[in-house]
Each structure stands twice: as structure tokens, then as C-alpha cells.
Point group: C2
Chain length 336, copies 2
Amino acid sequence: MKTIRDVAETAGVSISTVSIALRGSGPVSEETRRKVLAAAAAIGYVPNPMARGLRFGGSSHLAFITGDLTNSFAGAVLRVVERCAAEAGYTVIVANSDGNPAREAAALDVLEAQRVAGILLNPVGQGPGYRDRLDRIACPVVTYDQYVAGLGRDFVGVDSEQAGRVLTEYLLRLGHRRIGFIGGSPGLWSADMRLQGYTKALAAAGITADPALIVAAYYRGAEAYQRTVTLLAGSTRPTAILAANNVMALGALQAVLDLGYRCPADISVVGIDDVPWSGLVKPRLTIVAQPIEELAQVAIEWLLEHMAQGADPAMPARRLELPPRFVMGESCADLR
Amino acid sequence: MKTIRDVAETAGVSISTVSIALRGSGPVSEETRRKVLAAAAAIGYVPNPMARGLRFGGSSHLAFITGDLTNSFAGAVLRVVERCAAEAGYTVIVANSDGNPAREAAALDVLEAQRVAGILLNPVGQGPGYRDRLDRIACPVVTYDQYVAGLGRDFVGVDSEQAGRVLTEYLLRLGHRRIGFIGGSPGLWSADMRLQGYTKALAAAGITADPALIVAAYYRGAEAYQRTVTLLAGSTRPTAILAANNVMALGALQAVLDLGYRCPADISVVGIDDVPWSGLVKPRLTIVAQPIEELAQVAIEWLLEHMAQGADPAMPARRLELPPRFVMGESCADLR
DNA sequence: TTGTACGCGTTATCAA
DNA sequence: TTGATAACGCGTACAA
């Protein structure tokens, strides 16, 4: 690899002159500047980011941590993040916690060791110890998707309670009374809030949530499939199922159909968050869609702001919960 | 950030002793070793990767470049790659070329500048100049998905000609004669090979491929949708459509249905590569599935090997084309 | 067994 | 306007 010294020799000037000429950080004669630029281009000089990093104590990487790299949600967010980061001169390191707090912790250790300039985190951990761990991170952190209570970090997500409530109310309006809930891991903010939206909507309709109708697992389709099978084997079979995320809805629907039930005739299914080409899924799922692009946009924007300003402890943590959007499908029966 | 010097002060020894004790690169008394380790743990010392990188001339990052971050194929590969890389002590930088050679070139420039230790590349460029560009990359490169002819780099992918041929033969067996082909960008290896498989299968059946039935675009669902609309507006409407990748098949199917045709009654649709929960797509698509996990496994394994061995120019480039697997769905009509 | 000094490539400070 | 030099943190050859 060519170094600044090679440029200096080629141009016949000193290395400090080269540095100044290339960065424009001082006065250089026009002729010298041209010579240096020509020499740099001629030998294909590119500044060594490690040397810069060592000098300034930071890298030009930012980290993107997700709980499920195979979920289209992660892909959609990452796409926006990568583009914005690249435009701002940053590269994106991806880590996958796979929904496992231990793996997330390990990833955080590595990324902190790498001195990343900022972290976009979809948190999967829980508890006060976890919050403290996140608070100790020296670089800017923006959390997305999962809100961590009491954490002094920015958060961008979707109004999860509303998401759960809207779908439950819709099912209630259609006359459903026994509504199964396939939830995310208890303790995860979005899981708890979606369940809360469900419970509150039921309560508002004078219905007490039946614990037998509520199951939970990490946000994965395969887990939802299993839980749905269990749910439908119970004595009080629900007339409808609310799945807490996109792949859970797909898994639940698949289980319903595999068990020989018809959807929506026998069992209705609704879900939170969309998948690509969902128009081809039959029956088309009724869902609340998340404004993923906007979410990603805000998240990366906020992170870049923090990184630009340096750690400004004065500014309080921002919190944005975008409204989900109801999208009617054909997966719900009208029982009235 | 804590440095090796802080550890030395805390432990009351010199920095070289710390370095030796931590790396085990020399003789240290047991007591000293314990003291050093305790001190390092106490103050939370982590070696600065930039200083190491500067010292040794390389980073512990490897790069993953894909043409479409939102495609489930990319997510599935990346998941495996990230896990294996993490186990081997590497972090993964993700870049998205979006199918755009210029963006890929820009990404390569950045990643080379970052001195990544290796690159996993899904190449989208073409031409001799492009091949030369890839050859000039100093670090190990493993290409996947798209083969670049004449490039002295390892390649792992799927037998694309076979994929195109198998599906075409299947349609021919069912009695189809006018088979539309929604292909990937001409010049891309997999696009050309899939088309070739299609053409050869037709030829073997005594049929000359009708250029009016062949359209192409970059591997995206939206493009496929448009091309399908165009294709079906033509005078010689096909009885079946072969789409060259997963999202193209979905886009084509969506277009077929949106235009009021029934699938498979009016028009059959087959595609290459699967999507998650494809069992819920109605009609279920007949496809050839790619062994994505295995592909990813081999790709990252080979890359790590190269990185371990250093650049060994003696070893010739390896090339592996995994066989696709035919998966029958319900998206094809039997015309016999 | 431990400490000192140097170099990796870059930038900033200071002197010429 | 330019050039020499120190510093960033680490690892190691060399000296003690």
C-alpha cells in the first residue's frame, strides 16, 4: 500500500506538505498543490484509515445490530442505513444477535473494542443490568424497534400498543371474542406493548383476556408456528389469532392451514408489520404496516447527528413512535 | 479508552511486560501474569484494533457486497457469513451495490481503502475492464452467486444453466410451447446461463426461442412486474413464464394475477430460488431452490482459508456450482 | 525477567 | 510557504 511518504517522494516535497495539500488544512502554493495531487493520483495513494483512526481515536465504522438478519424488516432498515452511512463517509458493520442477549452482549463487546463511531441497536436484552451495560457504551447509540425503558439513548420505533390495539379492535368489531395472541418474548418492550394494546382493547369491550389464549416466543416464524399448533390444540379454540410480527403472522397462518382449518372461514389471522409481496399470500393478511423507511431514515439521521456533535450529554434522549398503518386484507371473517 | 499503558501502571509493571503477559509471546512469571490479567480486567482494557492494524498492516474486517440487500437471498447468506466471521474473530462490513456497477466500484474503493482483510462479492459489473479491476484487489476475494469469467478468484454459486434448463424442461413436459422468460441483466453470468438453459432446453425440444418472449432487467420484483405486463400485452402471449430469480417470480405472478389471468389455469409461472414462507403464496410456485446455506458456508470458509494462508498465488481459483433442487408447486398447468 | 526504544501512517504543532 | 518532529497505541527487538 502506498503511503503519504511515497507521495512526498514522488512529488519531491515533505510529508507534512503533502498532508496539508491533500487535506487543505493550511496554506500551500498552487503549484505545490497540483504537484502533490498529481503524485497522489499517479501512484494511487489512499489514506490509511487505521493511521487516521489511531491519530484521532475513532474509526469511520458504525454498527448495525439486529435480532434477526433474515427478517425483511432488518433488510429494509439496513438498506437505508447503509446508503445514508455511505453518503456520510461511514461504513456499516453488521452484527446479528439472533434474538439472544448473550450474543448481543458479545457483539457489543467486539464493536466497542473496534471503536465504532456509533451504534444502531435493536435491543433484545432486558433488566436493569442490561440497561446499565448500554449506558456504559462510550459512543453514540440509537435504539430502534425495541424501546429500553430508562435508557438515556434515542429511540425510534412504532407505536406498538396502538398496533396491538387497532388490530384487536378490528377483530372485536367483526364479532370475534376469543382472540389468540402470539406474542414476542415477554420483557421486550414491543412484545409487552403489543400485548397491552390487545389486553386493553379487550378490556374496553368488557372482555377479560384469557391466559390460555396468550402464548409467546421470540419473534420468529417457526416459533409462531409451534405456538399456534399448541394454541389450536387447546380446549377453547380461538376464532381469531393476532400475531405480534410479520413472520409470526406467516407462521401462524401456515399452521392454521396445515392443521386443516380454513382462513378466514374457521380462523382469522392478523399480524403486525408487512412482508414483501404480501399481496401474493392467500388469504391476504390484514395487518398494521410499519413505516420502515421512515424509521430507518430517522434512526440513521439521529445517529449521524450525535456522531457529528460529539457526546453532548446536555441533550435529552429523543423518543419517536411512528404510527402504524392499518391495511385490510382478506384474512378475517365477519362473525356478525 | 484504556491503553496498555494504563494496564502497566495499574499492575505496576512495564508495558512490554503487559504485552507479553497478555499475548503470551514470551516468558513471564506466574505472579506477574496474574497481576497483569487482573489489572487489565479491572480497568476494562481492550487492545486498540487500529494500533494493531497499523502495526500489522491490516484490519479484522471483512466485506460483504451484495446486489440487493432486501432480497431474502442476501439476508440468508449474510446470516451465515456473519456468524462464521464472528467465530473467526472478524467483523463484517456490509455494502449494497443495488445492482449498480458504479456503486459496486465505489464500495470496492472504500473497502480497499479500509484495508479489509477479505471480500465476499456478489459481482454486478461486466466487461474486461471490470475483471481487471477485481484482479487488482490486493486482499483475498471470493465471488458468489455471479461468476466472472476469466477472473482468478474463487467462486461459489449455483448451476444456473441447469436451473434454467430443468424448469424449461418441466414446462415442456407439461405441453407448454410458448414460454416467456423474465431474465436478469444480460451480461451477468447467472442471467446469461439461465437464459442459456432455457434456450437449450427449447432447442432440444425442437423449438426456436422467440425473442418476443424474452425480456430482461435487473433481478428485482418491480422490474419483473413491469416486464411481465409488457410481455402479456404482446401478440403472442405465452402459456407459461419462467422468472430468473425469486422476487422476479413473485413480481411476475403478481402481474399475471393483477391483469386478471389465472395461474396456473391461464398462465403458468415458475421461478429460480425460493423465498421464506413460500408455502403461503397461492398458487404455490414451482421453483428450483438454491442451497443457500451451503453456498454461504463454502464462500466464507474459502475466504477465511485465503486470509489465513496469506495471498498464495500458486493456488488456482476454485469454482463450485452447487446443484439446484426442483420443488414442485401448483403454479403450472398441464396442457397435455 | 523486565524496561527502553522504535516503527507502523497520519496529522498538528512549531520552527525555519 | 515549507519541513522537521511529536504523538496516537501496540508489539517486539534489544539491552539491562
